[in-house]
Amino acid sequence: MYLYSLTLQQATGILCAINGSFSGGKAQEIIVARGKVLDLLRPDENGKLQTLLSVDIFGAIRSLAQFRLTGAQKDYIVVGSDSGRIVILEYNKEKNTFDKIHQETFGKSGCRRIVPGQYLAIDPKGRAVMIAACEKQKLVYVLNRDTAARLTISSPLEAHKSHTIVYSICGVDCGFDNPIFAAIELDYSEADQDPTGQAANEAQKHLTFYELDLGLNHVSRKWSEQVDNGANLLVTVPGGGDGPSGVLVCAENFVIYKNQGHPDVRAVIPRREDLPAERGVLIVSAAMHKQKSMFFFLLQTEYGDIFKVTLDHDNDRVKELKIKYFDTIPVTSSLCVLKSGFLFAASEFGNHALYQFRAIGDDPDVEASSATLMETEEGFQPVFFQPRKLKNLARIDHVESLMPVMDMKVINLFEEETPQIFSLCGRGPRSSLRILRPGLAISEMAVSQLPGVPSAVWTVKKNVNDEFDAYIVVSFPNATLVLSIGETVEEVSDSGFLDTTPSLAVSLIGDDSLMQVHPSGIRHIREDGRVNEWRTPGKRTIVKVGSNRLQVVIALSGGELIYFEVDMTGQLMEVEKHEMSGDVACLDIAPVPEGRRRSRFLAVGSYDNTIRILSLDPDDCMQILSLQSVSSPPESLLFLEVQASTGGEDGADHPASLFLNAGLQNGVLFRTVVDMVTGQLSDARSRFLGLRAPKLFSVIVRGKRAMLCLSSRPWLGYIHQGHFLLTPLSYETLEYAASFSSDQCAEGVVAVAGDALRVFTIERLGETFNETTIPLRYTPRKFVLQPKRKLLVIIESDQGAFTAEEREAAKKECFDAAGMAENGNADQMENGDDEEENPLSDEQYGYPKAEAEKWVSCIRVLDPRTTQTTCLLELQDNESAFSICTVNFHDKEYGTLLAVGTAKGLQFWPKRSFEAGYIHIYRFKEDGKVLELLHKTQVEGVPLALCQFQGRLLAGIGPVLRLYDLGKKRLLRKCENKLFPNTITSIQTYRDRIYVGDMQESFHYCKYRRDENQLYIFADDTVPRWLTAAHHVDFDTVAGADKFGNVYFVRLPQDVSDEIEEDPTGGKIKWEQGKLNGAPNKVEEIVQFHIGDVVTCLHKASLIPGGGECIIYGPAMGALLPFTSRDDVDFFSHLEMHMRQEHPPLCGRDHMAYRSAYFPVKDVIDGDLCEQFPTLPMDLQRIKSFEIALMKGMDNDLRVIEDWPC
């Protein structure tokens, strides 16, 4: 089996983010690392974040830093990755790419303990960079400029110290003195030697300064001092005239200012009032903002509260450190304060947000200060605060993030053309069920019913210089309706259009006159209201029309073409006639090129399966320039011109080019390039769009021409980040469409479907899926489908949280208390009142924290169509749900039942322990909408996996696989096998086989023998895999994913499988035994691929109607598609090979090594790499395609890539 791996939607969680001006000048940009993808984001003038560039680097990005050489206008990017190399990138504005400036190798690849890459620190003046490992190694590179002002990098200087763990590093701002780097370190050499553990208990963290002596070209440990053992993060304090220099050490509960030769200045971090006493407060992300006269820090705690930290200093002496409550936003992995007044909050889990500063926290608020720090016998006196609504920040945009996806299923529940992806996302209060549909999201602006069923719709402007459209013209089978666009859309009768006949085309012609083409003639309405009417000769009727602003071609029945042009006076003049051999199926004229009087090309589609290009030049008017035969009669034609552009928002250099698109009657979209001079057609590509013949319309998307194709579903062809994308829209079937522009909606589409007129806009270009989000209460764990009623049953659980009732009670109490105490304070009172109306959203503020051993959990029945929860059962007694399945017991009267595996009082620290495990059995009532507990059975472990099997319930309880039958009061244990190595986490069944996934030991194939009432393991895997996801593929094959980011397939060899199945007496399976307690047979690994991201769910589905099945994995949505022909495999493996050579990954990780990070890649071709082919320079592309074609003997170009079904 050969597979093609393709990412459908890149990982959405952000691990780290930096901001700066990467394109130079005043522009503020953000660079984010999403696992293996480096993205460049920029907030546009409307405050919406736009992704300018997204590059897959085929390596794990571990850290990012930006620096600017003194006096330069532009920031460079330093990337620390798993490549064992330091890479410096520059953003190339012209080509919209990242250019690699330097790549220096220093160690082995992979994420290792002592190979640097985990931490990066930059000298604030941009003179040096330190790259550090978690342990021992630190390297310093000196950055400089050569005579041509290019960036140079020195050979590395070592600042190693063995037996040292590094927690955080940062550069110290000391002006133009020798650069200094600070690090929080812990020396474990003594602890390692001491078996009693005393030294380990007494181990002490130190803050160490490393000085780079630029004169001696040498790094030395300059200063080291003890620091709080809770210290976890360092933040640079401005120096060199702007501030006192030194660092802020963020520790548990404290922020400490430290500098060499300066006493510590310490302030306590304010705590939330409802926080349990044993919980500390840690800072998880920090940002520094510096203006000319002042600077401040924003520090975010692990609970999401942001504090503003200011230093009161007198030159180098810090007098006071103040920590003031600023605002509360969801916990972030990075905070970026942009100079343009925005705050970008990047989260590892949940949506990212862009905030605008409304204030910088100058108002009075809860504040802790080093001056008022009180030390008592019990330690330092804490400061408390109550979170409140956003005061200093205002959210203006958010970026959807699916991470983490806990479970996912691809089902066509709504019976649409393509199945929907149901995914459980997020954690804690930000968790949600998201329904993803392939396609671009649209937002519907208006829907209005029309008096009949319309056949077509157009929009026209009154004048060519108008910004907005003036009329919407709707054609019915026997009439035409004209609607004027203004404040409202209403019918008008004074437009001059003939309303008693259907229309074939309506458009602006010349500069300011309108044209209506109807079956019996052309009506030309001049600006002053004069109407010229051209009548068809004899009894012939007009069947098709093609027009642009200055040219009109009509096709009469019988196949005669008549060509008109607008002359100098604005008059429509007949120029030429041409008789075609048969009826004309469709027509289109290319748009008038800039600065010209007419377009040269007319495309005519005929019913004899051909498309002809005719010349419209006066010299050779109506001469056939080229001819293309197609597979089916064309239904619609559209010329799409891509204008020449150099650089710009979203693209590299494009030479002007003209594409001819044809929608064929068999549902295929056919696209060819039209030579701008000769009219020759070349490079034909086709793609199946749907069951109906696609109708093509030109629309405007982001100021550029795009193509709307209406087949059985609408598709949009547009240019995104320099590539032409053809993506389905997530919308119903449309009949006819036109672009629409009014002052409410600048770039919209008006379309007719059924008897309704619809106006909509297309949003979030470049995305693959559009989402419907349904919020959930706790972190979702798993879900199942209730097959009959098509309801989803979801289990949710959270550790260290309060139940909904407890929270409600606490909140009420808190508000009551606040109301009582703050009676005199009007401001507070007002605040309180506000909150009562609209209590603090948990999504933003998080749940109040409880003790770690406290669990909350619920079972939810949800109707995905109405998005309503029909039943929500909170589990009592500290129980939490871990597994779920539906089960039909044989011979029992209840029908489908629901089994839920729970654990009571589960604890992971200091040792994994629990009070009890249970399996609950629920029955569905009221049409499956409500659950009723039938009984619960105590078991001796946590049931992590449940599955129905032959009318009974299989449960994986710790290392035991057990078969249960339904009893009156409890489940009855019927059979068990205790020979599994660790913990069973997944069970799948097919016929009489059971595929058991063990937490650490991959898959075990089992069989149940009814005559002996025994479960036998007959095959297992040779590789110990830490399984995170499993899916049954076929009788002998299972797909799995391990926690290191590998996806693999294992298969039982055919002969072994036959032997097992043809064992009539069953003696073989019973008495055969393997070596070393293993199973007698071994499965073979047939597919292996490193995804680079933990895969939590696998599902087999077909995403396009009629397409082959593929394996879809999450959370970084990707698909593994099986190849169907050997030729394709050969072609793609050659292409992959060439791409590896010609386009090595950006951050220096070898592509092959990356995909084989844990096990050698086997039989999977990396589609993400192959899809980078169009980003190669054009001449290289040609050479490569030629080479591949030569090697393969194939007349093949890259159409295979584009035709690939996703």
Partner: protein
């Protein structure tokens, strides 16, 4: 500690021990020793059949001079026997070729494995019956067919005895009715085994001590014997 259901360390230890023993015994010819019912081993080569406690002692014995002598004698005898057989076979072949009848040859080959031959015949009969039956039945869902394949396997084991006496005498129709009956009974019995009932050596049903039962569970002793 329970030793049922393959669930304890004891079973694993047993496995391991048995495995070591197996490995030790691999060197011997199977016909050179016999494992007694009490777990001891006896040497079949030596004329006085000495008994040994473990495979280890057996292996020591087999290296001794007396055993060696006995072995060589045995080999000699075996060789002589082979010679004799081939001689007689050759003679009988001569007879068949002249008389045109192959009866003696058949006797010669069949006579050596009569039981196996009979079993094979019975099995093939059952199989052919099954196939006919399966074709007659309307199509079953996939899951069930696998269960039924289990049943066939079962029936082979059980059917050896009755076929011997009954098949040749009874009429075909009666036989089929009986078979259906038999199958129904099999199915019911299987249901009970799957539910955790076991049979003792008298054919009585008892509850497996490791399996849980509902309070009003049907008793196969009553139901099956009642029929």
């Amino acid at each position: 500690m329970s030793v049922f259901g393959g669930d304890s360390w004891a079973r694993e230890a047993q496995y391991r021990k048995r495995r070591v023993d197996d490995l030790l015994l691999e060197d011997f010819e199977a016909s050179a020793y016999k494992k007694l019912s009490n777990g001891k081993f006896t040497c079949l080569v030596c004329p006085h059949n000495p008994v040994f406690d473990t495979p280890l002692v057996l292996s020591m014995h087999s290296k001794g001079p007396r055993h060696k002598a006995a072995e060589s004698r045995r080999k000699e005898r075996e060789l002589w026997r082979q010679e004799e057989i081939s001689k007689r076979l050759a003679m009988s072949n001569c007879v068949t070729s002249t008389s045109g009848s192959n009866v003696p040859y058949q006797q010669c080959t069949n006579g050596r494995k009569p039981l196996i031959e009979r079993t094979r015949k019975a099995a093939s009969e059952i199989f052919s019956n099954d196939i006919i039956e399966q074709r007659n039945k309307c199509r079953k869902p996939e899951g069930e067919s696998v269960i039924s394949s289990c049943v066939y396997g079962q029936s082979i084991q059980w059917k050896e005895c009755p076929i011997e006496t009954e098949v040749p005498q009874k009429e075909v129709v009666v036989d089929q009715v009986q078979q259906l009956d038999y199958r129904g009974r099999q199915e019911r019995e299987l249901k009970f085994t799957a539910a955790g009932w076991k049979r003792d050596c008298h054919g009585r049903w008892f509850k497996d001590e490791n399996v849980e039962f509902d309070s009003d569970e049907e008793d196969p002793n009553v139901i099956l014997n009642g029929n």
